[in-house]
Each structure stands twice: as structure tokens, then as C-alpha cells.
Symmetry: C2
Subunit: 160 residues, 2 copies
């Protein structure tokens, strides 16, 4: 079951445009290789692994080795343009790269899509809980696997 229907070309071009703008403002170099990797990551709304990116990159850009991909991914992560999904060893485009980071990811086990939340109450609760423990948070990983809205509805229909 795919995610909600939409014109995905707009997702991609919006993301690439925003990335170019952000990098220009920051003096970071979004080279064609890096932009190519970002574009590959953005082709789907499901996280993609480094070696899957590598395959595509080889077809389209010619030579490429694992470090080629990992270095581009490191750059994109540092700029907040993508996120790493720890529980999948995979990467997903960030829909709001200009804003503060470390959202919550909803990973559908059926259709594979990843959605990013930035829920204030979740973040506040985490802040309170960690503060009480005397813990100073530097990075958050919040990944929830389960069934997305579309797949839940589809399953309910079939169960009928």
C-alpha cells in the first residue's frame, strides 16, 4: 500500500530547491554529486539504504564506491537535509530542513513509508523526563514502527 497519492515530482523539486537555497545561505557546497544523492533519497517516501543509493548512482553518474555515497550522506546529514533511520540503517529526506531538528519518525511496516513528526508535547515530555534524570540530551532518536493510516484502513477493509 503506497502512501497518500500526490505529485511526487513536486516533493523532489521542492526539496532540491530548498536544499540549494539553504546551502547557498550557509556557504556549503551542494555539488552535483551531493545533489544527485539527495535527489535519489527523495525519489521515495521510504527510507533507502546506502548501497541502494550506490547502485542508482552508478547507473546514472558512472563510477562510484561506498565512500562516495557515505561522504555525500554525511554532508547531507550535517546540513539537516536528510535523516538517518537508525533502526533501518537507511536514509530519508527531511521535509523541513530549515527548522530545528530531531523529529519523530513513523515507519510503516507494510508500505515502508516514513513520516516525520515534530510533536511539541512529545518533545516537552522528553525534555522533562531527561531533565529529571539529570541527563543533558545532545541527540534524539525516536522511531515508531507500525501501520500508517492508509495501511490500517486497508487492513480493516480486508479483515471485513
Amino acid at each position: 500500500m503506497a502512501a497518500t497519492r500526490h505529485d511526487h515530482r513536486r516533493c523532489v523539486s521542492n526539496a532540491l530547491g530548498a536544499a540549494a537555497l539553504l546551502c547557498r545561505r550557509r556557504g556549503a557546497r551542494l555539488t552535483s554529486l551531493r545533489a544527485g544523492v539527495l535527489e535519489i533519497v527523495w525519489r521515495g517516501h521510504a527510507p533507502i539504504g546506502a548501497y541502494a543509493i550506490l547502485e542508482r548512482l552508478r547507473r546514472e553518474h558512472g563510477q562510484a564506491a561506498p565512500p562516495t555515497v557515505y561522504r555525500a550522506l554525511d554532508f547531507l546529514l550535517a546540513q539537516g537535509l536528510i535523516h538517518r533511520i537508525e533502526s533501518m540503517n537507511a536514509f530519508i529526506g527531511c521535509p523541513r530542513p530549515a527548522e530545528a531538528h530531531g523529529g519523530q519518525f513513523l515507519l510503516c511496516t507494510l508500505c515502508g513509508t516514513a513520516a516525520e513528526l515534530a510533536d511539541k508535547r512529545v518533545e516537552a515530555a522528553l525534555t522533562t523526563a531527561t531533565a529529571r534524570a539529570g541527563f543533558r540530551v545532545e541527540a534524539r532518536v525516536v522511531e515508531l514502527r507500525g501501520l500508517c493510516r492508509v495501511c490500517t484502513a486497508a487492513e480493516a477493509r480486508h479483515a471485513g
Copy 2:
């Protein structure tokens, strides 16, 4: 900087005792190999990787190969006796194996210790946020890296 001082032998023996009891109640077989792996995991309060476990196992039990370790880990995970720390590809003993699962982990980047929380407000906030998104959660990964209380205090002293 190590975690809070305590008699760690009691941690280990408590954990092994609780595990034996739980498995007996459930009709699950906590074999000597599995108990050995659990004991190795419990030796520290820092997550340990599968290959580090393998090394120790080889010294102490003789032959062992990666599947030996991964199978034991799979069993211990299924019984809720350990947790996998996704962002580290490592494993940590669960201090409350009898209770409901999926806590929040505080991972200190300085001393390496992992602490497990089970904060009701965090869990409630996650439930609310995911429900609003129409997402049905099956498993949660919440891992927070940063400085633990002890290391924060130590750092503050040195910064003097």
C-alpha cells in the same frame, strides 16, 4: 567517568535470577549458553556488541560463532530480558523484564552507560501524537544520547 557506584555483582545476580524465574514461568528454556550470554551482557551498564560478546564467550565457553551469539540474543530479546540499542548496534540488559516493554534509553556519550526510563508522560505523548496521525504503533525506539548526570557534573567541575 563510570556510572554511579554500586555493587554490580548484585545487578548481575538479580538479573539472572529474575530471568530464570520468568523463563520457568513461561516454559522458555534459559539454557546455559543463553544464561552465559545474558551474564556477559549484564557485566556492564554500557551496551555491548554481538562480536564483543562472541569474544568473551569463546574465552569462557570454548567454541562459538556469530550465529551462536545472535541466536542467544534473539531468544533474550524475545523474552524481554535484553534490549537492542538501534543507534549503537548493541545490547543492554533490561532491569525490569517482567513489566511492559519499550522504554526510553539515555546513552551517555562520555562514559558509555545506558539508563532505561519508562516515563508515562513520554509514552502518553507518543500515543497521542501517533493516534492523531492515524498510525498504529507496534514497536518504539527512543534513544537519547548526551551526558549523564555524573558526566555532566564532572564536566562542570573541570570547566571550573
